[in-house]
């Protein structure tokens, strides 16, 4: 079995930056990424996009090209199309590539699997025609496809960004239904002074909102009691705004309530996690160099807490510097400068977190709303299980099968923890989260039968 000083999982900004830096320090580095080309979700298909598409997607998207070029130019081995399905406590990484499974050993692991969109359970969210804002943006990045008559529902910077990109592509959304309560603006304003070092983000935000208004896209504010109507597919979005009920007919709805760290790998590796009230999400516990509670396992990028693409690349470099230091390589300059830049970059976060906190509607869905899509478990069933005495997500999982389907709880996990916590009158931190079991992604039985990691396994008992 091949061994590397560093295995980086994920080729988004954090993973690319980390791999460039560790390979430059002389450490053998392997990058495993599910996609066919580097970039992650934020810079998805950056190498393949032409000038027109880059024009639509904007300046920030273009900046991913330099990172991708740096990765290509580095001595890091880059393996695209590699789906990691297990990592054990000895840092053996098992992954699928080209229909077969392979294993490598890592001295250091950089988890750079970024963020996923927060689950948004609401009536009708499983109907055909309903997708997420992130998915809409990926369609645009990879295929130049823009959905017509799209109604965007929810809140967050990504929603506004995707809307401006759709406008630039010549197919504006039909409407934006924003769930930010009016009172939130006052709460967020308290963070304004602290956010000044992040003026660039604020300016971009205001510019996006202006662009949407200029394009004449109707924006419905302070929306609540949202439902997607339809029998066999989405037909309309209904909601209350300005004190009255609205109904917008459409076959295409994109939902969004912000992004949260993708915890699957850090949970699988039994890293410690904590619930962050500001981000309303579980985060792996990391030190100043983004090392987790499991030694030599690092989380670079949004996986350690949402910071955005620029911060992700900087965190990736910081992680790489620390790994090089631990491996006895000469210290690199610029660490303090990088840390200061990261602090400046994060200045805008408290404001964004306060303004775009998830709406009450999705945190406490009605009893009849489906929460686990794979196994079709409703919020009401989860509350009933708690009433019977099931103490947490893992017992609810065993009892109802919530989180046991092919997505392994990625789509429902956070919502299930929130619902259980609310039902018990506790915080999500005390009820915790699903235990994550391999394979991280579905694996063919025939692939497992042909699996030869090439080394005798450690004994079963230790």
């Amino acid at each position: 079995m091949k061994s590397y000083d560093v295995v980086v999982i994920g080729a988004g900004p954090a993973g690319m930056a980390a791999a460039v830096e560790t390979s430059r320090a002389g450490l053998s580095t392997l990058v495993l990424d599910e996609q066919q080309r580097p970039g992650g979700q934020i810079y998805r298909d950056i190498e393949a996009s032409d000038a027109t598409r880059r024009g639509i997607l904007g300046q920030d998207y273009q900046s991913g090209a330099d990172l991708a070029a740096a990765l290509r130019g580095s001595t890091a081995e880059y393996l695209p199309g590699a789906v990691v399905w297990n990592i054990d406590s000895a840092k053996q990484i098992d992954f699928s590539v080209r229909g077969g499974s392979q294993s490598v050993k890592a001295a250091h692991i950089v988890v750079a699997t970024g963020a996923i969109e927060r689950p948004t359970p609401m009536p009708g969210w499983t109907l055909p025609g309903v997708t997420t804002v992130g998915a809409v943006q990926i369609l645009l990045k990879t295929s130049g496809v823009v959905l017509e008559d799209l109604v965007m529902v929810g809140s967050g910077p990504l929603l506004w960004l995707a809307a401006t990109q759709m406008i630039a592509a010549g197919t504006p959304p039909k409407a934006i239904v924003e769930t930010v309560p009016k009172a939130r603006y006052r709460a967020a304003a308290k963070h304004l002074a602290r956010a000044i070092p992040g003026w660039r983000y604020l300016a971009k935000g205001f510019a996006m909102i202006r662009a949407v208004k200029r394009a004449g896209v109707p924006v419905h504010r302070d929306a609540e009691e949202i439902a997607i109507d339809g029998v066999v597919a989405a037909e309309a979005v209904s909601f209350t705004s300005d004190g009255r009920r609205h109904r917008i007919e459409t076959a295409h709805v994109a939902l969004h309530q912000g992004v949260v760290p993708n915890q699957q790998i850090t949970r699988l590796m039994n890293c410690e996690h904590r619930f962050d009230a500001g981000q309303r999400a579980f985060l792996p516990v990391v030190d100043a160099s983004f090392e987790t509670s499991v030694e030599n396992v690092f989380v670079a990028g949004d996986g350690a807490g949402i910071g955005g693409a620029r911060a992700a690349a900087m965190r990736g470099r910081l992680v790489a510097m620390r790994i090089a230091e631990k491996a006895g390589k000469p210290a690199t300059d610029g660490r303090e400068k990088l840390e200061a830049a990261l602090r400046r970059d994060a200045a805008v976060r408290p404001l964004l977190e306060a303004l775009y906190a998830p709406s009450e509607d999705v945190l406490s869905p009605a009893d009849g709303t489906l929460v686990c899509r794979c196994e079709e478990i409703t919020a009401g069933q989860i509350r009933e299980a708690v009433a019977l005495g099931a103490p947490g997500p893992n017992q609810v999982k065993s009892f109802l099968r919530a989180g046991m389907g092919p997505c392994q709880g990625r789509m429902c996990g956070l919502a299930v923890s929130e619902i259980i916590a609310a039902a018990k009158g506790e915080e999500p931190s005390s009820v915790d989260y699903y235990r994550i079991r391999p394979p991280l992604k579905p694996l063919l039985l025939s692939e497992l039968a042909a699996f030869e990691p090439g080394e005798a396994p450690r004994a079963a008992a230790e």
Binding site: D88, S89, N270, Q408, L444, S446, F451, A460, A461
Partner: protein
């Protein structure tokens, strides 16, 4: 903090602890269950769910039979169906030599007076398992067995016991057990519990409790690994094992297929962690595809392993203590304790409440591992009934 002295403290909230607590409460005892994690956290909540008499170690057959009677009316006992499905359990023979061994076993059981295991020829096997591979020559079946949902079952035992007044203290590890006068004192992180009787159902963690009672036995923590697939079209209505290669295979009501059968992962009982060893599971995958060719197209969505206690001879300890009168053990079920849960709980309830049972538990005595303790300690006065 000291608690009022109760009739019985049960250490361990798995299926055996919960079942024994329920049966003791049904006999009017005041019971507290101490569980270091949460009820059904380990093997009891995540085992393969087989409700199997087929292929039992011979001494276990009588209590397995008794347990099966309870399983068939589990809803009456617990007000919950436990997801129990009546289904044949079948051990497949891939060669004539395998089939001969199965025939010999069936004959031995008949001589013991049990006729629930029947030999299937080639055609009969296909009658039960239309999807079985062509090369399989026959099998051995126990037609009136089944399977159930482990967490739902153990949780149902807990809820029924609680409804009869049993107190469950979860996240409350029994650190020390000791005799104080006529009573037992159990010290936990959350106070001291005293009781007239003590029952050790600590699973993989039971060895430490036994040691503190002066009965040092070796309980090996093991983690039998299991896989589950995404939903598949219905092709199998039986629970399937194999005569020579380890396998436990069943298709659940929802179409998913659960595959287990003895390949062991890494058990780390101190941290509650079990780790899968996929190079071992590879053989489980191979066996499943060899017996059912349809499995070549199956997709694994999850794997897991609960931590269980295994005894050196592969059968449990079901026994009064040989050192302390009023203390009892039911642990070390060695990866096949789920089906025995209802029956052994009934036996332990009887033992604790009356000091005696007619159930044939002599082969499971703790003294088989602690001859010196049995010889030098106080001699138990309990009738242990006839041996199987």
């Amino acid at each position: 903090m000291a608690n009022r002295t109760v009739d019985l403290v049960v250490v361990g909230g798995g299926i055996h602890g919960c079942s024994a607590a329920l049966h003791a409460a049904m006999r009017g005892l005041e019971v507290v269950v101490l569980e270091k994690d949460t009820v059904a956290r380990h093997a009891s909540g995540v085992n393969a769910g087989g409700v199997r008499r087929l292929g039992r170690e011979f001494p276990e057959v009588p209590i397995s039979q008794r347990s099966m009677e309870i399983w068939h009316r589990i809803g009456d006992l617990l007000d919950d169906d436990c997801g129990f499905q009546r289904a044949p359990q079948i051990k497949v023979a891939e060669t004539e030599a395998d089939l001969d061994r199965l025939k010999a076993r069936a004959a031995h059981l008949r001589a013991m007076g049990f006729d629930h295991e029947v030999v299937l020829d080639r055609d009969e096997l296909r009658g039960h398992l239309p999807a079985v591979s062509d090369h399989c020559v026959g099998g051995l079946a126990s037609l009136d067995d089944g399977f159930a949902l482990p967490y739902q079952t153990t949780f149902a035992f807990q809820r029924k016991a609680r409804s009869l007044g049993v107190r469950f203290e979860e996240n409350c590890r029994a650190r020390t057990v000791e005799r104080v006068g006529a009573d037992f004192r159990v010290t936990t992180d959350r106070g001291v519990f005293t009781s007239r009787k003590l029952l050790n159902c600590g699973g993989a963690w039971a060895g430490e409790i036994a040691r503190q009672l002066g009965e040092a036995v070796s309980v090996e923590p093991t983690a039998p690994m299991m896989l589950v697939t995404s939903r598949m079209p219905r092709f199998c209505n039986a629970v399937v094992g194999n005569q020579t290669r380890p396998l436990s295979f069943k298709q659940m009501q929802n179409g998913t297929v659960v595959i287990g059968g003895g390949r062991r992962g890494r058990a780390l009982p101190d941290t509650n962690v079990s780790e899968l060893i996929f190079s071992e599971l590879r053989q489980t995958a191979e066996t499943a595809m060899a017996i059912f060719p349809i499995m070549r197209g199956a997709t694994i969505v999850r794997s897991w392993a609960g931590i269980e206690g295994r005894m050196p001879d592969g059968i449990p300890v079901i026994s009064p203590s040989s050192t302390e009168e009023g203390a009892y053990h039911a642990f070390g079920f060695s990866s096949h304790g789920f089906q025995l849960g209802p029956g052994v709980g009934e036996i332990m309830g009887e033992l604790v409440a009356t000091g005696r049972t007619n159930a044939p538990i002599a082969p499971f005595s703790i003294t088989r591992f602690t001859p010196e303790a049995g010889a030098s300690g106080s001699s138990p006065t309990h009738s242990q009934g006839i041996s199987a």
